[in-house]
């Protein structure tokens, strides 16, 4: 089991406080993501984006959530046997879980290097697999945690403050 955590330093205390005492989300929505279904992949992140627009979240935050959630959704589609997305809403942040079953990440450190990719031919033909997914997700979130067991599953958690 490999674990990777990244915290934006300027939000460190707020994030730790949140993680130590996780409050009940004000609202929670689940989405199914199917493996290799590139036609529908992206719908959940679109929906999350729309949801946040309706809550009046600032445009800058909206863009970050859109990019991070889209990349993570594509990851499930491209690299796993399918999974789900859980979107937990709080009044000052959104918490996103991307949980899949399947392949897991063999070398987590490598996976975080920009340009590194294990994408297969199908994924590349679909225009993905440039190796920028995880680095982009990291860049756009305030907190990112990856827990992965090779050949078993991956769980990605993100926190983005409004």
């Amino acid at each position: 089991m490999a674990i990777y955590e990244s915290i934006k330093p300027e939000k460190e205390s707020t994030i730790k406080q949140f993680l130590d005492n996780p409050p009940e989300p004000e609202m929670s929505i689940d989405y199914e993501v199917n493996k290799k279904d590139f036609v529908n992949s992206g719908k959940a992140s679109s929906d999350i984006k729309l949801l946040l627009k309706k809550l009046g979240v600032s445009t800058e935050v909206l863009r970050r959530v859109a990019v991070a959630s889209y990349e993570a959704e594509i990851n499930i589609t491209a690299h796993s046997q399918g999974g789900k997305i859980v979107c937990n809403l709080f009044s000052d942040l959104v918490q996103l879980f991307f949980i899949d079953i399947g392949n897991g990440i063999k070398d987590l450190e490598k996976a975080l290097e920009p340009g590194f990719s294990t994408a297969d031919d199908l994924v590349r033909e679909m225009g993905f697999g440039a190796g920028l997914g995880l680095p982009n997700i990291k860049k756009n979130s305030d907190y990112m945690k990856i827990v992965s067991e090779y050949n078993d599953h991956t769980e990605l958690e993100l926190l983005i403050f409004f």
């Binding site: 309706k54 809550l55 445009t59």
Partner: protein, 422 residues
């Protein structure tokens, strides 16, 4: 805070409306509802794209433009003609004659939008090169697209080409030139746009980002066409010397405009039709199109030739204009000084502001509470999106209920199921 009043170039005639909900379902910003069997327009959400006008079988939604008589009070009357005008007439009539027709209906000077095309291309190329941090740059010429961004894609507003539209650039330039050269006082000059769509009418009456109103009215192409259509053969004999610049007509066609701006270093994309525009903007928002430098976005099919105020079918008009661009004689306008005006910032527009009508509530806690209610309602509603309730989809009905603008009993399917059970 006082709600801003929005001008719209559509008028709803409730006497003609039969409450069929065709317009409700086609509106890209969900600005229309049928309530008590009559249509109502949410003026904060309408972007003047004109889709509802085309789809209404009862002519209950009327496009608005200024009547030709509006030019009368002005001693010196100037027409600036949208490029799509050239595609409206029969090919027996040469382009020059159709422009002469505007003198016939009372104008003292006629200027083609196409005059400034090459200059605008040069300005855009410079703008794109000098705004490397913003990709892609999005065209701002279509007023419906600008309003769509303000309403649904506010995060993309900084990507808009923040420079006046070609017809406004021409308005500024000629108002000044006529004052200087013809010694006509500013207030005696009336500048009017001959426009292909309602969005341009709205842009003239309530410009976004402009420091001041630049034109005195917007007249529909079809109104001019109807005035001069019957005596074009007589007009052909009129003894007026006029310039034509068909090469610049590319503005009317979204694909061509993108081709002209594109270079080896500037990658362009042309998108037309409001559904396609929305699809592309979602992709831009997700950073999927950052490899493009410039995207031309037009609300109407094929670009401005698809606007409500044209007479000819958009595809045929496109072919006619293409022909004119390729095979007609061409005279250039002397507009070189415009480039230095651009560099001085004279054509800059104010940063465009979002129109925040998307959020459910100003207070985020309250908004989340409403969102929860909506999700609960969605579990009860049938999910057919039939529109019979008067809202465009089950989701929007749920939202309308939560906002106090509709009731659960408005859903006919639920009512029927309840009756069946009883």
């Amino acid at each position: 805070m006082e709600e801003k009043k929005y001008f719209h170039a559509v008028r709803v005639n409730t006497d003609l409306c039969k409450g069929c909900t065709k317009c409700v379902k086609i509106c890209p910003t969900e600005a229309l509802r049928v309530r008590e069997s009559k249509i109502c327009l949410d003026e904060t959400r309408c972007i003047d794209c004109g889709k509802c006008i085309n789809v209404c079988p009862y002519n209950a939604i009327e496009p608005i433009s200024d009547p030709l008589s509006i030019i009368q009070p002005f001693p010196y009357k100037v027409a600036i003609v949208s490029a799509s005008y050239a595609g409206q007439f029969s090919e027996d009539i040469d382009y020059e004659t159709t422009l002469k027709g505007l003198y016939e209906v009372g104008f003292d000077e006629v200027i083609e939008e196409s005059a400034v095309s090459e200059m605008m291309t040069r300005i855009k190329q410079h703008y794109i090169a000098s705004h490397q941090n913003s990709r892609p740059i999005l065209s701002s010429n279509c007023p419906a697209v600008v309003r769509l961004l303000q309403l649904r894609f506010p995060s993309l507003l900084p990507n808009l080409f923040h420079i006046e539209a070609p017809m406004s650039v021409l308005s500024m330039y000629y108002r000044d030139l006529i004052q200087r050269e013809k010694k006509i006082p500013e207030n005696d000059i009336g500048i009017f746009l001959i426009v292909p769509c309602i969005a341009q009418v709205t842009a003239v009456h309530q410009p976004e980002g402009a420091y001041k109103r630049m034109q005195d009215g917007a007249i529909a192409i079809k109104d001019i066409y109807n005035q001069i259509g019957n005596h074009l053969h007589k007009i052909k004999e009129m003894d007026i010397k006029i310039k034509t610049h068909p090469r610049g007509l590319v503005r009317a066609l979204s694909g061509l405009e993108a081709d002209y701006v594109g270079t080896e270093k500037i990658r362009t994309l042309a998108v037309s039709g409001i559904e396609n525009v929305i699809d592309i903007l979602h992709k831009v928002e997700n950073h999927l199109l950052d490899q493009y430098d410039y995207i031309v976005l037009r609300s109407c099919t094929n670009g401005c030739v698809g606007g409500n105020f044209n007479v000819e079918n958009a595809f045929i008009a496109r072919s006619k204009i293409n022909n004119l661009i390729k095979y007609s004689k061409n005279e250039d306008y002397e507009l070189d000084s415009l480039y230095s005006c651009y560099l001085e910032g004279i054509f800059d527009v104010m940063p465009l502001e979002p129109r925040s009508m998307m959020e459910l509530d100003k207070d985020i806690k309250q908004a989340i509470y409403k969102m929860k209610k909506i999700q609960e309602l969605l579990k009860i509603l049938p999910g057919f999106d039939c529109g019979a309730c008067g809202s465009p989809s089950c989701k929007s009905l749920a939202e309308d209920i939560v906002q106090g603008n509709a009731k659960l009993e408005d859903c006919l399917i639920l009512c029927k199921n309840k009756e069946d059970l009883e």
